[in-house]
Amino acid sequence: CSGGTELTYSGPEEAYKKGVAEMEEGDHQQAIRFFRAVFEYGRGNEWAPDARFKLAMAQRGLNKHLVAANEFQRFTQLYRNDELLPRAEFERANSYYLRSPSYRLDQSDSEQAISLFRLFIDRHPNHELVPEAEEKINELRAKLARKKYEAGRLYEQRDMWQAATTVYERAFDQYPDTPWADDALLGAVRTYIRYADRSVESKQAERYQKAIENYNRLTQLFPESTLLGRAEDLYSEAREKLDRAQAQQGEQSLAQEDASSGSN
């Protein structure tokens, strides 16, 4: 806290202006004190909405994003006719965006930000900040996709093939619009082959088939993907092994040995 000195101001206007000046100086703490002083003249006074908005921005300056988000929310509740309203809604979402941590950690804030950005876009489809909101949604979704993708990686590294295939496929299903979609598909191709390699014979063909299906999705949906080279190799491997497995199954004729459906 920057000093416990008494603030001097003669009215809401002066308090507001001094707050703005402090903010320009970079003293957010002091700015907050002045903006709060504006509310002493009632929440409905002429300067109150701007002060509320700036107060929230000052909290952001102090990296108190959750406090800022709450202030923006109060703004949207109190001043529903103010012209800053769309801005406040955007900045509220943005506060959660700024809180969003690495993909390895809890993503509740990312999800909150996404839903608030979407709400903002729905309410103000023509606002100048819409492109930025969309960009941030994409960025956050990429983060969520990465989170899921890395879960697949973890299972793959631990040779938990079934889990890896499940999670990679889900990562693609849930986040097909993100930069991780092609990685997820490639992961599915790769792990289905490994999964099949370690499966009982009766299940092998089906799982090589799955690898090929995922390869097809990859090539059709992401013809530009840099991963295609690696996918190509895996595809030929799957193709070859599928043929072999089918041939073998043919030889085994109709002796249905399907006792255990498990694998690994």
């Binding site: 006074n45 950690l105 509740s108 299972y155 590294q157």
Partner: protein, 822 residues
Amino acid sequence: AQTTSPASGSGSAAAPRPTFVVEDIQVRGVEDAQTRQFVIQSSGLAAGQEVTLPSGQAISQAIRAIYDLRTFSDVSIHRTDQSGGNVTLVIDVTPEPTLTAYKLQGIDDGDREDLKKQIPLLKGSPARPSDVERAKQIIKNFYKDEGYLRTDVSVQRTSTQDNRVRLVFNVDRKEEIEVERIRFLGNERFDDGDLRGAMEETRENRWWRIWKGEQFKRDAYEDDLDLVIDLYREHGYYDAQIVRDSVYYMGDGGLGIDVKVREGDQYYVREVDWKGNSVYPDRVLSEQLGLTEGEVYNGKALDENLYGSGRQSGVLGLYMDRGYMRADVQPTVRVAEGDSLDITMDVREGEIYNFGDVNITGNTKTKDYVIRRELYTVPGDRFSRSAIQESIRRLNQLDYFSQESLSGGPDISVDQEEKEADVSYSVEEVGSDQLQLSGTFGQFGLVLQLGFQFNNFSAQNLFEGDAWRPLPSGDGQKLSVNVRTNGTYYQNYSLSFTEPWFGGSPTPVGGSVSYSKYTRSVFGGRSASRGIRDGRFQNISANLFVRQRLNWPDDKFMVGSRVGFQLYDNRGRDASTGNRRPLFGSVPYGTNQSITFRQSLSRNSVDNPTFPRTGSKVSLSVEVAPPIGDLVQYHKWRLNSSWNVPIGENFSFGVGTNFGYIGSITGDPVRFETFEVGGTPFDYQGGTFGTDPVFMRGYPRGVIGPLNRTRGGNLQPQGGQVMNKYTSEFRWKAVESQQLQARPYVFLDAANAWNSLNAYTPNDLYRSAGVGVKLFLPIVGMIEFNYGYNFESYRSLETSNIESPGWSFQFSLGQGFGGGGR
């Protein structure tokens, strides 16, 4: 308050309602112009706006918005000055009085704190009647739970000018109501005492239970009535019921309870018939159910064994563990003839569900993979209840998350179409890191210690600036750094690091290094310091270890390997003769080095590492110090075990055994790492150089086992080659909060150490018993106190006198005695 429109009565159903343009908005009921402006702003209405009247959406929204401000008790909107399509709106509001303060009178300070947290009144906010009424109810309920059934609360309002109000809640708890008498009627099979015994919370007041009055709690009483019926059902009284019960005040402020039961007849099981089961044969299900044909019908067992209780998984548990998460069993019990019951179990197995998404939330510090790698719930696997239970146990063991956040289990959402169960673990991080600067007063004066214990360290983020908060964390590694000194003649530096999952598999790898130095003689365990001049003692030790989880016989097994190096440099002189004498008592004179290899095999199923309640821990280890060149040689065997059994919700019982043997490879005497028994970890804060201390409650350091005399004539532990120790503890989970965890216990221990296998007499043990408490405080760490009685006499090392059985007090910091740890 309603939207009222003077013009028309109730809204017209069919006719299109006219729209008007708002020309002006006025506010009535508040003086202040700013507040008026504020009301208009909050309403969302603005001049120039089109509204539908009467009862258009904009109007009802406006009223709701103003209500939501929570400052007005009454809000309504009217129209005036209607001319053509234009209208002026009037918002009528009645402000609630603002609460300046409220006071609770007639209660204890402690209660006040608790109550204030619950009461929904805020200074400076409007004092709404509904909130005041709720506050009254909260106070009443609060005291009802404490046994003050007749608590009276009256509210005194003092209104001041400008519509402000002060509230005083006068609370009169009246007399505490205690249960004086519980009577049963209609009972023959069980007497009143048996039935009263079945009740858990509701008890008669008895003069010998002086520590508590027997209060009456309505909810608990209802449950207790069920327990009475359960007692009957357990013994075949299939249709026992409570016909009537009454709770009444007796003359002297006590409560009387009369319960009339109808026992009915005692029944036997004639037949148990399973229907609809395809996964498990009748035999398996019947075995799990535990009802035997021809025996007394046990209705309680039927419930428990069907749905599972405690650790028992139950019939449904069998299904739950094989993916049938929607399985259901409906028992139908029919009286066949006479005293026989036929039981039909209708099984609906449902379909197999798999785990779908497995999500983790709430981890603000610990990275996903650190959590996910502990989970047994794996996407694509069959749903299994025990996989969930095991996952929770593992997460608990990490010690990173609050028990409350884990104990509820994960959120499960089921996709009926896909037959999948999505599982979401919501964790709450609690600081398990410890940073301590402490001063302890012990054998060499005041020792200052600066220590860090990071249980969730991240070496990966070591070079990322913004990861330092205050240290990089979240990768689940353990790092501890300690510096200890008494300022003059003692210093110790140590560092250790563990990566619990090396290379992505559950293979902990780690190591530690430590350096200690003394420049003055201290009481080093085996020789008193008297008569030795200053010299120098140094110790360097380092070790590396790998442990590996095994998959067989089950995945709670672990093998461990450790390579260690020790260097001792111990030089001093006799004060009177000037001859060479070791400065540190427990280690021979000069330089000694050893390289040790240790292999261990252990199994750990303990639920919580600091405060075990259930599960067991067994470990067997062999350590070899090979006789290469001048190196110190020995071979050493340890077998430790501890077992924990929960008793009810809040108690547990633990037993531990601890066996050790150390022998010589070459036949030369063993000079290092022998056992000395007695004392606490605190007694060894200066180091355990050259010895293997075994802590023992009720006896001071080193007094148990063979002793000998130094050249100076002082008594010292000789160090045993064979060691046995047995511990038992009955613990109470007394306090479980973020600020403090406390487990008081009573203990009974026994231990001894012997010179050699020839001298080994396993029945000859030093026993002790007493009470103690183990505390865990977030900053200080573990503290343990105990007050113990030694049943056997021992010789004091200080005075050489024989100490008779008696009580003594012990204390330990940082590390507990361990129910079987050391």
